[in-house]
């Protein structure tokens, strides 16, 4: 398959192996964080919901980038991991009586291992087979959720999921406090990903993306690292799903149909694969615009499909790629 050796086609013209957060970017990050921190104090409930969705998607897109942006394989099942995490957490609290603070880490760990079980055989597939399989996998998970009436209530969905229990005297019953929980989680997740991506492990992942064969030849166990990245990404998506379930307190299978995975992909590519902050920014931008267009739901998805194609035509490296071009690229 001649097409498949090039995994760097989606990375912009000046790919960066290490993210150097410059002082200019730090200021922007600071501003964004301050805005996010202040929202629950001054904005309406509706805006708080939107901001929460944006933060959840930001973590999804960032964790997606770990596999597809940093290590290379294109996947279309991130939404499925999100859903499995959400349902697992909800069911653990609703039916098994676990407290949220136990269900939350368990969801993450379970989805991590789930990712490993799926990834280990799947990542051996050559050519487009892996990507196509993840597409099928996402659909299959949706089918399972939809049809396990006994467990998940199927199309009726799960309701009355309880919010996280109070901890250290902080109650999470209110909208504002739940928001801050997700805010803190978001920061923690991004910081974790940032350190991972800039570590020795991150450099190895990038090597695999840049040239799978050479990476293997210099002694990198590419299978191991691909599965690792895939599983970590899945695990983080699982944790995110758990938070989603306990924030919105009701779950429905269609929330995790293949369109969710597709939206994560769009956010990551629009932002710029392989840059961590690109997909995060992409998530913010896409969520914002989707909400601005909430009066025309079908139009929203059409616009984003067109936008994705436009990005692929103009600058496959996404927003970060455009920023790189403006900055003049590396000589």
């Amino acid at each position: 398959m001649r097409n498949m050796s090039n995994k760097t086609d989606l990375v912009g013209k000046s790919p960066r192996a290490t993210i150097k957060v410059k002082s200019r970017s730090l200021i922007i990050i600071g501003v964004v964080l301050i805005i996010l921190a202040v929202i629950p104090q001054i904005a309406s409930d509706y805006i708080i919901y939107v901001a929460t969705i944006a933060m959840l998607y930001a973590v999804l897109a960032g964790s997606y980038d770990l596999t597809t942006g940093y290590t290379g394989p294109l996947t279309f099942c991130h939404g499925a991991f999100y859903g499995v995490g959400a349902y697992t957490s909800a069911l653990l609290t609703l039916k098994a009586g676990f407290p949220f603070w136990v269900a939350f880490p368990i969801s993450g760990i379970m989805v991590f291992f789930f990712g490993m079980i799926v990834g280990y055989p799947a990542l051996r597939l050559k050519g487009h087979y892996f990507a196509v399989t993840t597409f099928f996998f996402a659909h299959f998970i949706y089918l399972v959720i939809l049809n396990s009436q006994g467990l998940t209530n199927g199309p009726l969905g799960l309701r009355n999921i309880s919010p996280p229990e109070s901890i250290l005297g902080i109650s999470f019953k209110s909208l504002q406090s739940s928001y801050y929980l997700i805010f803190v989680f978001g920061i923690a997740a991004v910081v974790f990903l940032y350190f991972l991506v800039n570590s020795g492990i991150g450099k190895i992942l990038v090597s695999i993306r840049e040239n799978d064969e050479l990476a293997e030849a210099i002694g990198i166990n590419t299978s191991f690292y691909k599965v690792l990245a895939f599983s970590i990404g899945a695990g983080i998506a699982g944790l995110t799903g758990s938070l989603f379930a306990h924030f919105f307190r009701l779950l429905h299978p269609t929330t995790f149909a293949w369109m969710t995975s597709e939206m994560v992909v769009i956010m990551a590519i629009v932002g710029g694969l392989g840059t961590l902050f690109g997909p995060i920014i992409g998530a913010g931008v896409v969520t914002l615009i989707l909400e601005l267009m909430r009066f025309a739901p079908e139009l929203r998805f059409i616009i984003w499909s067109v936008a994705l194609i436009a990005v692929l035509i103009i600058e496959p490296g996404g927003l970060m790629g455009i920023a790189g071009r403006i900055r003049g690229g590396k000589k």
Binding site: T8, V11, S14, P15, R16, A17, T18, S199, G200, I201, K203, I204, V206, S207, E210, N211, E213, L214, A215, E216, A217, I218, G219, I220, N221, T222, K330, K331
Partner: protein, 246 residues
Amino acid sequence: MSTILSIKKLRKEFGGVHAVDNVDFTVDRGIRLGIIGPNGAGKTTTFNMIAGAFKPTSGRIEFKEKRIDGLKPHKISQMGIGRTFQNVRSFKGLTVFEHVLAGNLAHNTRFTPKAEQYQEVENILEMTNLAEMRDVTVQNLTIAYQRRIELATALATKPELLLLDELMAGLTYVEIDKTLNLLRHINEEMGITLIVVEHVMKVIMELCMHIIVLNYGEKIAEGTPKEVANNPIVIEAYLGEEAEYA
């Protein structure tokens, strides 16, 4: 001298074509061995089998007396064999420093690389004359530089045996001389055994202590450069068709 690599009755078939047919040879630790032969003789296929990229159809490959045929490339690299590729492979998006560091990290994977690791990379960059380019992105460099970077990266993996596949192809005489000096240094000062596949005769004659000649997948001759150069079988293999028309 101990044997570092031994190849026994090695065969590789691709759907009826015998790319490598019953090849035997041993390599002593510390020598510089050359493998030559006309195009399609099976040289790169042999390399690929030693390095683990291909599984032999039959035969044995032993490295440091341990059997390695059929193992995965990364395992073989971890055991101490490094290689370069005929058509240059590189991590295009990385800088030269990051590229060589990848080789080092692959054999000493840590969340936070130690200072010594960075120093080791610096040393290799110095030795291979790449220190000035350390921050240049590899895709912006010429093939000649990319070859050197590939070699430097392989050195960073601390190999005991290095397989070099047509490293000198397309280089100018000046570049060839520099690389020859580097290779001699690697072999004599660092004790790395070299196996070199080459078409450039100057390189083979000056660098190699021992030569193996392949043709149509079979070993047809073996010996010192002088012996091989004067071997009528070898001469015929290279000049065969032309001699007929002469």
